[in-house]
């Protein structure tokens, strides 16, 4: 489907009226053909996204997104709530398949392989592109079994020793090993919120994915736990490609190399993080980071 033909001027997604107390109403007009500003495409990309539109039934959630995700880099996705950043993130490992009414159009590639081609296996894809969710969701199993889950289902460990080693390595990488090494066989749900989230990260990296998607991983955590996760993300970015959706601009500024700004289903601007926060190209980005809406 070609976006420009389906969107008449004046339909809801194209105009946004945001009422900000004190500042008075801000009217922002977008034109349907406007392309993303900044440097959306970069050399040496791990994943490439071209002309992607996402629909929930009749409703369109994502409009014509083009962006590259750089290898061993962190890309942060920011924007007001409901702008579609989570939807977009979920399309990167086809988690949207689990929602019946959701339909993805366009071209998403990882290492030049088309994600949505019938030849690609979704199980294999998700082993390569892991995901960490907004709310920590450890399985109702022991800490050990939570981390061992991925290696077990994918048949990665040949022996028990292999598996033990994988679990330890993943927990160490997630910075959780020292806290839980004495109670590996206690329930994962008994940990604190921040520990649970790190457990989920350990679980995700246990299958050695190439890309890790994080959907507001700190939104349910207190500031100290958040700081630990952010440190962790920085460490992980040396080995993994990371795409993180976040509500917090400070977080995006701290952990990412590039930042993408979404607004009402459109990708407005992609630029190196420093530039986005110091010298945004687009007026919408500027309004957002200066706190005029969000």
């Amino acid at each position: 489907m070609n976006t420009s033909t389906t969107l008449g001027v004046g339909t809801l997604p194209m105009s946004a009226t945001q009422d900000v107390s004190g500042a008075g109403p801000v009217n922002i007009e977008l034109t349907a053909t406007q392309a993303t500003v900044g440097s959306a495409q970069i050399p040496n990309a791990k994943m490439t996204v071209r002309n992607v539109n996402i629909f929930y039934g009749e409703k369109q959630a994502i409009y014509d997104v083009n962006v590259d995700i750089g290898k061993n880099q962190v890309i942060a996705m920011i924007g007001p709530s409901g702008c579609g950043k989570s939807t977009f993130l979920r399309s990167l490992n086809r988690m949207n398949d689990t929602i019946d009414s959701c339909r993805v159009e366009g071209d998403i590639r990882i290492d030049d392989e088309n994600l949505y081609s019938p030849k690609l296996d979704v199980v294999e894809l998700r082993a390569r592109v892991g995901m960490v969710f907004q709310k920590p969701n450890p399985f109702p199993k022991s800490i050990y079994d939570n981390v061992a889950y991925g290696p077990k289902i994918h048949g990665l460990a040949d022996t028990r020793v292999d598996l033990d080693e994988m679990v330890e390595r993943s927990l160490r990488k997630a910075g959780l090993w020292d806290e839980v090494k004495d109670r590996l066989f206690q329930a994962g749900t008994g940990l604190s919120g921040g520990q649970q989230q790190r457990l989920c990260i350990a679980r995700a990296i246990a299958v050695s994915p190439e890309v890790i998607l994080m959907d507001e991983p700190c939104s349910a955590l207190d500031p100290i736990a958040t700081a630990r996760i952010e440190e962790l993300i920085e460490e992980l970015s040396q080995n993994f490609t990371i795409a993180i959706v976040t509500h917090s601009m400070q977080q995006a500024a701290r952990v990412s190399q590039r930042t993408a700004y979404f607004h009402l289903g459109r990708l407005i601007e992609v630029n190196p993080t420093e530039q986005v926060f110091t010298n945004p190209e687009h007026s919408l980005t500027e309004s957002y980071i200066t706190g005029r809406f969000g």
Partner: protein, 462 residues
């Protein structure tokens, strides 16, 4: 006046009391210049008066009706010459019946001893007297209540509060019916069981290996002491229940999983209620189906393989019972499976697990407490199920674990021992209550544990 007539008289009086109370309140209000000068609306004063008129009188009427019979009979018995007085409780009942039958004219007076005829006359006289005094007492209490309540009505009377408190107590009493029901069950079963355990030791009953409750009518007859070892019944019950669970658990669980996790919404919308039809079919229908369709079918199949299948095999009853229980397990399992948060599934799918791996390794373990509780409820259901086994399994108390044999169950024995014209106090009927006690205790324990587990599970994911 008869109790029913008196009841209707009382209803009439109560209605009258309502209008009188309301009328007086309105009158007072008029004198004061409008009903806003009353504490409550006039109708509350009406209800107030009606309550005082009807309630105590009704209570008395109920008590009188309940205790009238036994008290009068007791008095009549006391008036009998000592040589006719009954020795035991059974004889007492028989004699009481005889006397009342004579007085009602059901038994002809010819050939009856004079003392009995006199007793019957005494009974008639007492009954008449009782009826008269009941009428007088009940109606005078009602009238007194009416008058008193009406005289109490003044503008400041907090009639609404009084009436509402009464209503609240009435509601509370209704809620307590549940307690009284449980109490009634426990007492009735326990009391008769204790009688039974006087003649048969508890240990013999629970651990005894032979069940043949044929009691002789007279004490000196051959085989007068039946044996009441309940183990064969427990084994039979267990066998049938196990067969039922072998059918119901896999089918119920797998269909719940399929309908909750895989099936298209439209398939689910039809298949789920269609499966639940199985729970709505009366058990007597299943019993008929088991006895006339499944059992002969199994026997024929068995014959063609050279197996001897009893025509009242535990297998037939168990199979059909299992079919009946499928929806219990499937709907309970469906509840808990859908209660498992989507985040769990997402977490697993995002790791690259297939759908079935997610279900088997994450969803089912998460839902396990609920599923186990559901299975426990289903077992309790199977143990207590009566009609299927009464119609499709046998009476012979065989000690066997072979499902092709005929076995008998606790519920079958209860029904067999208590249907027909049995003398109430014989060991045979009392044994049925002892079995009932066992049944009640076992199902109660299963239910309490299961309901507790389900409650915890709900709280965990709420």
């Amino acid at each position: 006046m008869h109790a029913t007539d008196l009841f209707f008289l009382l209803v009439g009086l109560t209605v009258l009391a309502f209008y009188m109370g309301r009328g007086k309140a309105s009158q007072i209000a008029q004198g004061l210049g409008g009903i806003r000068n009353l504490h409550s609306l006039p109708s509350y004063y009406g209800h107030y008066t009606a309550l005082y008129c009807g309630f105590p009188a009704l209570l008395l009427l109920c008590a009188w009706s309940i205790f009238e019979g036994p008290v009068i009979i007791g008095m009549v018995m006391d008036s009998l010459p000592s040589d006719l007085r009954p020795s035991g409780s059974v004889e007492y009942k028989l004699l009481a019946n005889k006397i009342s039958n004579i007085s009602l004219g059901i038994l002809p007076t010819i050939n009856q001893p004079d003392a009995l005829i006199t007793a019957a006359e005494t009974l008639q006289r007492y009954s008449q007297l009782s009826r008269w005094s009941m009428t007088a007492l009940v109606s005078s209490i009602a009238l007194l209540g009416l008058m008193w309540a009406r005289s109490m009505i003044v503008a400041e009377l907090r009639a609404r509060q009084r009436v509402e408190t009464a209503v609240r107590y009435a509601l509370f009493a209704c809620a307590c019916v549940a307690i009284f029901t449980t109490l009634g069950i426990v007492l009735s079963v326990l009391f008769e069981s204790l009688q039974f355990f006087k003649s048969v030791p508890v240990a013999d009953f629970i651990f005894g290996l032979e069940w043949s409750p044929q009691m002789a009518i007279r004490a000196d007859q051959v085989g007068s002491s039946g044996s009441f070892g309940a183990v064969p019944l427990f084994v039979g019950t267990l066998l049938v229940s196990v067969v039922a669970m072998f059918v119901a658990v896999p089918i119920g669980l797998m269909s719940a999983i399929y309908l909750a996790e895989y099936a298209h919404k439209s398939v689910r919308a039809y298949a789920k209620p269609a499966l639940e039809i199985l729970a709505g079919i009366p058990t007597v229908v299943y019993g008929f189906f088991a006895a006339l369709t499944v059992a002969p079918f199994l026997r024929n199949v068995g014959e063609s393989y050279g197996l001897s299948v009893s025509s009242e095999s535990a297998l037939a009853a168990g199979l059909v019972m299992g079919v009946m229980i499928i929806p219990f397990i499937s709907s309970l399992a469906d509840d808990v499976i859908t209660a498992v948060p989507q985040a769990m599934r997402d977490g697993s799918l995002a790791m690259g697990a297939t759908h079935s791996e997610t279900v088997r390794r994450v969803v089912i373990p998460a839902a396990l407490p609920g599923i186990v509780a559901g299975i426990m409820l289903a077992i309790s259901r199977a143990i207590g199920e009566t009609m299927i086994v009464v119609m499709a399994s046998g009476l012979a108390a065989n000690m066997t674990f072979n499902p092709l044999d005929s076995v008998t169950t606790v519920t079958v024995q209860i029904v067999t021992l208590l249907t027909g014209d049995q003398e109430f106090d014989s060991a045979k009927t009392l044994a049925a209550f002892a079995l009932g006690l066992m049944l009640f205790l076992i199902t109660l324990i299963l239910n309490i544990i299961a309901l507790q587990v389900v409650k915890r599970f709900r709280e965990q994911y709420e």
